[in-house]
Symmetry: C2
Subunit: 286 residues, 2 copies
Amino acid sequence: MLIQRLTIIGVGLIGGSFARALKRARVCAEIVGCGRQLDNLQEALRLGVVDHYTTDLATAVQDADVVVVAVPLGHIASVFATIRPILAPHTIITDVGSAKASVVADAYQELGEHICRFVPGHPIAGTEKSGVAASFASLFENRRVILTPLAETDPQATALITQLWQHTGAEVVSMSVEHHDEVLAATSHLPHVLAYSLVDTLAQMEDRREIFRFAAGGFRDFTRIASSDPKMWHDICLANRTAILHVLAHFNADLAELADAIEQGDSAHILSIFSRAKTARDKFSG
Amino acid sequence: MLIQRLTIIGVGLIGGSFARALKRARVCAEIVGCGRQLDNLQEALRLGVVDHYTTDLATAVQDADVVVVAVPLGHIASVFATIRPILAPHTIITDVGSAKASVVADAYQELGEHICRFVPGHPIAGTEKSGVAASFASLFENRRVILTPLAETDPQATALITQLWQHTGAEVVSMSVEHHDEVLAATSHLPHVLAYSLVDTLAQMEDRREIFRFAAGGFRDFTRIASSDPKMWHDICLANRTAILHVLAHFNADLAELADAIEQGDSAHILSIFSRAKTARDKFSG
């Protein structure tokens, strides 16, 4: 066994899938689940995702070798503040938040001397579903997990969290907090903002029934991410607002240029944008 | 047999799938393929999609009971002009164009007395792939096909085209040309414009390699339509530019409002937009 006791705070899609994957790999002797919704924790136990559960944070992190904070970004600071006095001196803390600068700021603020065993992390995986019922052991297979260790982070803590993620089948990479937030704003946060915004625009149009009735597979794929948890994405938008607004400004300028080309009937310009985009899309997804 | 000879001009994803579906339903005695790319037509014959082929439009439409024009929107006018003098008095003409006002204008301009046997049509189905190799018989199953018959269109012609589409497994509905173009601008054309534009924005960023490297499943789904044929979508953007720019203006205003809420940290506003969008998305796709 790599570790004795692992505690997951927030047993949802990501926390639950991480627990399932670690159980499958038989690297933790015991997995404790913690959260605020009793019915979700009961389901986690029934599904075999965790070995025990408690709704009490202090009980949950006692004697834990590793604590995984998998709650929405807006709750991370208060979780850190609550567990700080109970954490053992050897306990390693990690998280799975989709934006890292805000989590790191929370950690500096709330974790005190435990900052040297904090390994900020973010698995680039997920679906539009939420809750432990949607979790599955293979979610992280062949996916990337980004760790953004701090100057203070003990390399041995980073090494252990790296090993845990590798046991889920993920590839672990390391980058700076700032770079993480820029890259994710572009590839994940902005697409969610656009998908939510488009669906909301159409949902408010007069002939919305007709519109959704005639939406085909392309629209379904394009807007799937707008079925994601609104609260979670609200938190992400606020936590990473600077990077998101920055890449959105780029996008708006480019979109205005394309709209202008369409209005002017500038064939060459439209074709060059569409062709460049297709080439890039085919290259990265191929 | 419902009809003797059906000619498909443009044996690509849509034309090829229509031919396959009709062959499977055994409703045409003979299907003739026509196009400009000899290799594509040879492949269509080899795959059993068509019974004969020719690159000559005049030969292709001779003695045809039904002519299906499945070429990009930008080529429809010239196809109409070329086939007009050869069309038999009983030949029914239909098309599969993604925008209808431009096709109907082309038809009034070029089809002359044959306008009364022209049934404008649009199957709401497709993938991001192109060419006859990507075609398959079940593409239209449980999909909707919109017909926008004109005041001049012979009801018997509309009835026959309706029957043909029903034999592919599609549900056929009828609406006005203008309404079709508005609905499709919202659900299909604008999403393509946004997807192309976003991928192009990211492809031009300095750290594009990192960006595409860390793109996950959500991004893949969101941008799948940016792998569609650039020429085809160029034609659609020009053919339906008024309706596209109209819905884009709506979208831009709503997106600016959302960006403002993110910048101001207006939680309630962000949450209400995301929640409304999720509700609409879940409702129509559920």
